[in-house]
């Protein structure tokens, strides 16, 4: 039957003149139409491509044949196959004088080519010629083509002709010329900016069609710049009035409506012009009121105009009467049986609700109906409306509904959107904390990995910080309810990774907090998670960290820890993991289990996730040790640059540089602290913690060697100062967001001077850098600025450090950061023959080298600045004492190994503390230094 019909059509085709096609084309279309599968269709098309390729190579193809080939090419490309081999023939066809061929050529190139295609250059000349043609149909064809084929560079080539055509005697040409200009304006506003007045002029065209076409570019122009078109308000209103009063020729009627598309465009323009403008709005009241009365709501197009009126009213400053009329129209829409009208009604309601919030109430039932409707489009529109009308009184219902719907759909794009809306509403209006956590659980459970990771971080922070009230009891209840809900959910299969991360973190932090659940129960659960999701390293990392916290709390509270066998096997498995991060975590956990209560407590204090991380960026706790080393004749630090390149020139330049730094740096006048006095200063003012004792304990016997380099130390120090001058601007620019960026920079870089202890350029500045940090106000500010944003911090790090992962780096910047940027310092330090003579001072040289190299390098300074400035000195906490003494104890037992460790990572003690604290903060896990813990302690 189908075939018979086809044959009939084919016969009929022959009588259709210019549009008829050959038998071959019809056969092609027919066989494709009858293809049973995509593969069959592809096969047909591919053989057709072969035929065409061959035929196009034949010489002297009759034009009519050629036209047909081009049409076949177009058809092939529509079916998704490449027809680029024939593009040039389409381009050639545009040059033909025959209108039929020319039009076919234009049609093909507009479908084939984009405006930046190389072949366009071959067409521009033809277009120019055609725009000047006497035949208006040729002109129209050319205008049609330029909409698609002309880009910013070729606009000037055709612009004069197009502007001339604005005054063409045929209205069809004028119309298309305006549209073409509009298109130019969209592509490159600057190229036609001097011609914008033409649009205003054409608004007064005798032909209503041309006037209507002008509204399109004017709409765009007014959207961009409302103010300069306010003078047209009354013109637009009077045009609309004339249209509605049927002053236009009858031929403009569509379904008995006078020029509805022009009316709609005008209403859209009026909405723009009347927005927030009382006087402009008032001019519109009359005509809008008339429209409501006149509009025929029985036709589709009449309703389109009604809807457009509602839209305009929601944009302008409406009169109460108009609002009422709009509300009536909406209720008519909502009561209609047509889904289209309901959709428009819901949309209109969403617009009006901004102006008069109570309008929705009378339509409650209709809205609920739409929510239950099988039509997905309508449902989504209704959810959009609900989202707009959410208040704290109705949030529970609305969010519940949204979640139900979210669970029911498969469309990830919309699922993501509705999940983020749920989260937003829950955050904004949550009636209780428990409810909030429940909602978040549901969102995570069902939309899981579609949720933005920030939402997870927010939730963790919320649970950690409580809800801002000073009610500890409520907070712990909240945590308990979170823990309980998580323990329940955990048993479900296939939870999203992000949710598991949150669960692990919360269980680690608060699982055992109130004693309801035993450590072995929680740790068993965590092991289950790590087992069940063994392919997800992030989850595993979180789980191991949580285990570490659980055990740490147990040890700290003096209970005996029984490591479950499954935990033990998990740790052992991870010790051999390919992921360095997991490996490090496992090693750390293992090391932690061997420590005693005091040490553990200072590494992982209970419920300290909200405490600020304080980092002593000057490493001032080392001052005493440096002092001692220097006194006993150790070699002072020599910076990287001097060691690698400037060593020979050091002596020449030392005198010149001596003056420069002290002026250029503009620090307050410094006295040169005597080496001996510095030491006392360091221990009293700089560092409130009596570390020096520890260092003397640990290292006194080592630092006994050479006195040789003492004189040269002075010279080199000044060079350090010079270097600061270079390094400083980059610090300032990159870390301006942090509270004390320049000080931070100085603090790090001035450290060498302090360490050497003689002729220091800026020990002062390092004191200064301490002061603001001690101020608790600022600490809190810094914490609120940086403390929570661990993810963004790690982002910045990874972007500048290349392969730098997030978590571990925060703890060991001095060691890790410079290495990727400038590998030499480490090696150089060890390899330097002058340095090897004094092994004892190596650690500090190393440290200084790293610091300095980092300050030289633009890329890494950013990192360093950020890291240092957002971490306040850790050494102020007393608990560190115990830890350090702990460490020193162990190092005393094996001074050799300890020393070698320190030379690798000079401030590893600090790193250890930072690392511990950073982990508590739940920063994303990853690190590069898995053996640190083991080496240090083992």
């Amino acid at each position: 039957m189908e075939q018979l019909k086809t044959i009939g059509r084919e016969l009929a085709m022959g009588s259709q003149g210019g549009f008829g096609q050959s038998k071959e084309f019809l056969d092609l279309v027919k066989s494709i139409g009858e293809a049973r599968s995509k593969a069959e269709e592809d096969r047909i098309v591919l053989s057709e491509i072969d035929i065409l390729k061959r035929k196009l190579l034949e010489p002297d193809i009759p034009k009519r044949k050629m036209k047909e080939y081009i049409i076949r090419l177009v058809y092939i490309e529509m079916l998704g196959h490449d027809a680029s081999f024939g593009y040039i023939h389409a381009v050639k066809m545009t040059h033909d004088d025959n209108l039929l061929l020319k039009r076919t050529g234009y049609l093909a190139v507009t479908l084939f080519l984009n405006e930046d295609h190389d072949l366009i250059i071959l067409i521009v000349n033809t277009i120019q010629k055609d725009l000047r043609s006497d035949n208006y149909l040729v002109v129209c064809a050319a205008l049609n083509a330029i909409c698609r084929l002309i880009n910013e560079e070729t606009i000037p080539a055709v612009l004069p002709q197009v502007v001339d055509l604005l005054n063409h005697h045929k209205e069809a040409v004028r119309k298309k010329a305006i549209m073409a200009l509009h298109r130019f304006h969209r592509k490159s506003p600057s190229s036609v900016s001097h011609l914008i007045s033409n649009f205003r002029k054409r608004l007064c065209d005798n032909d209503p069609g041309v006037m209507g076409a002008t509204l399109c570019p004017l709409f765009d122009l007014i959207t961009e710049d409302v103010a300069s078109y306010k003078d047209l308000v009354s013109s637009f209103v009077s045009i609309l009035k004339q249209v509605t009063e049927r002053r236009l020729p009858k031929s403009y009627d569509y379904h008995q409506m006078p020029a509805p598309f022009i009316q709609i465009k005008l209403l859209k323009i009026m909405a723009l012009l009347g927005s927030g403008d009382k006087s402009a709005s008032e001019i519109m009241y009359m005509v809008l009121g008339d429209l409501f009365r006149k509009c025929d709501s029985s036709t589709n197009i009449g309703n389109a105009i009604l809807y457009e009126c509602i839209r305009s009213i929601s944009c302008i400053i409406p009169s109460p009467k108009l609002l009422e009329a709009a509300a009536d129209a909406i209720s008519k829409f909502l009561k209609s049986d047509s889904h289209n009208l309901k959709y428009m009604g819901i949309d209109g309601l969403g617009r009006l609700i901004k102006i008069s919030p109570d309008i929705a109430e009378q339509h409650q039932l209709a809205v609920i109906d739409c929510l239950e409707d099988p039509d997905d489009t309508l449902k989504r529109k209704t959810f959009e409306l609900l989202y707009k009308m959410t208040k704290s009184s109705n949030v529970e219902v609305i969010v519940d509904r949204m979640i139900d719907y979210m669970i029911s759909i498969n469309d990830n794009h919309y699922k993501t959107e509705i999940a983020s809306r749920c989260v937003e509403l829950a955050e904004q209006f949550a009636p209780s904390n428990q409810w909030f956590i429940q909602i978040m659980n549901k969102v995570f459970e069902h939309a899981g990995d579609l949720v933005n990771i920030k939402v997870a971080h927010n939730l963790m922070r919320l649970i950690a910080e409580g809800f801002g009230e000073d009610d500890d009891d409520a907070d712990s209840k909240l945590r308990l309810s979170a823990v309980e809900s998580y323990l329940q959910i955990m048993s479900e299969p296939k939870l999203p990774s992000l949710f598991l991360q949150v669960i692990s973190w919360v269980l680690g932090e608060y699982g055992t907090a109130d004693g309801k659940y035993s450590a072995s129960y929680i740790s068993g659960k965590l092991c289950d998670v790590a087992d069940a999701y063994s392919s997800d390293e992030t989850v595993k990392g979180y789980a191991v960290s949580a285990l570490m916290k659980i055990y740490a709390f147990e040890i700290a509270s003096g209970r005996k820890v029984d490591v479950l066998p499954e935990c033990q096997s998990l740790i052992e498995e991870l010790l051999a993991s390919h992921s360095t991060d997991l490996q490090q975590r496992a090693y750390e956990l293992q090391a932690l289990l061997a420590l005693d209560a005091r040490a553990v407590e200072s590494i992982l204090p209970l419920d300290a996730s909200c405490e600020d991380i304080e980092v002593d960026k000057d490493l001032s706790f080392l001052n005493g040790y440096i002092q001692q080393a220097i006194e006993s004749g150790a070699q002072p630090y020599i910076s990287e640059r001097e060691r690698s390149g400037m060593l020979e020139t050091t002596d020449y330049h030392s005198q010149d540089h001596h003056e420069v730094p002290s002026h250029a740096l503009r620090f307050e006048a410094y006295e040169r602290p005597k080496p001996s006095s510095l030491r006392t200063q360091a221990s009293t003012e700089l560092v409130p913690v009596p570390e020096p004792s520890y260092y003397s304990e640990a290292h006194q016997p080592i630092s006994t060697s050479s006195v040789s380099e003492r004189e040269s130390s002075e010279i080199k120090l000044r060079l350090d100062g010079v270097k600061q001058k270079w390094g400083r601007p980059s610090y300032q620019s990159s870390t301006s967001a942090s509270s004390t960026p320049p000080q931070a920079a100085n603090g790090t870089s001035s450290h060498p001077d302090v360490g050497v202890g003689s002729s220091s350029l800026k020990p002062r500045s390092s004191y200064e850098s301490k002061k603001p940090e001690i101020d608790p106000e600022k600490q809190r500010l810094a914490a609120s600025l940086f403390g929570g944003s661990s993810s963004s911090r790690s982002d910045r790090k990874s972007s500048s450090g290349g392969h730098k992962p997030a978590k571990g780096t925060a703890s060991k910047p001095p060691k890790e950061n410079p290495i990727p940027v400038q590998p030499p310092p480490d090696l150089l330090d060890f390899g330097e023959p002058t340095a090897t003579s004094v092994t004892a001072t190596d650690p500090f040289k190393e440290l200084e080298g790293l610091m300095d190299s980092s300050s030289q390098d633009g890329g890494s300074t950013d990192v360093m600045g950020v890291l240092y400035s957002d971490a306040a000195p850790v050494t102020t906490t007393t608990s560190v004492d115990s830890l350090l003494s702990e460490l020193s104890d162990s190092s005393k037992g094996n001074p050799g190994t300890y020393q070698s460790q320190t030379s690798k990572g000079p401030n590893s003690q600090e790193a250890l503390e930072k690392d511990a604290l950073v982990r508590q903060m739940g920063v994303n896990p990853t690190s590069q230094n898995p053996t640190l813990f083991k080496d240090l302690l083992g």
């Binding site: 059509r9 210019g18 034009k63 209108l99 479908l111 509009h182």
Partner: protein
């Protein structure tokens, strides 16, 4: 602005596709397939509108109408009125009906270039140009007449080299 006009049959075969901003062929195919899979999953007697951000970027809407074996689809942005677009489909179909007297899928398939001619008279560079089907018909007929005339005059083939030399 109108982003695309598509016609496809109920099996998902594209019958006509016009995108008003250039898109590579593969992307066009992907969009056509995407639109079809959404349309084919819609139940009967629901609205003719779809929000289609996932395929065409933010603030994209789609209006479709199902006639016999064909879907007529318009994709556009927030500066157009959905109901009016629905009527634009109506205009297109009415015009085609006049062109082919009782249009059916086969007419559209076999009159590929004429379809484009009609469409170009209605939508120009993504803007609605003309909605009076009589006017559209007039324009299209004038073109056909002229083409038929010019067709009968010049059937002398010009060689490729001749074209090159002529330039």
């Amino acid at each position: 602005m109108i982003k695309a006009v598509m016609m496809m049959n109920t099996q998902g075969k594209p019958r006509l596709a016009k995108f008003y901003d250039f898109l590579p062929v593969e992307k066009q195919q992907e969009l056509i397939r995407g639109v079809f899979s959404v349309l084919s999953s819609r139940p009967e007697n629901v609205s003719n509108f779809l929000e289609i951000d996932s395929l065409f970027g933010p603030d994209s809407r789609l209006v479709y109408k199902h006639y016999a074996t064909l879907y007529f689809v318009l994709v556009f942005d927030g500066s157009e009125n959905e109901l009016a677009m629905l009527d634009l489909i109506q205009v297109l179909v009415e015009t085609l009906d006049k062109c082919f007297s009782n249009v059916c899928e086969l007419d559209i398939v076999f009159n590929y270039s004429k379809m484009h001619t009609v469409l170009d008279e209605i939508v120009f560079g993504g803007q609605v140009l003309e909605t009076r089907s009589d006017e559209i018909m007039k324009a299209v007929e004038e073109i056909s007449k002229l083409e038929a005339a010019s067709n009968s005059i010049s059937l002398v083939p010009k060689s490729v080299s001749g074209w090159r030399g002529g330039r």
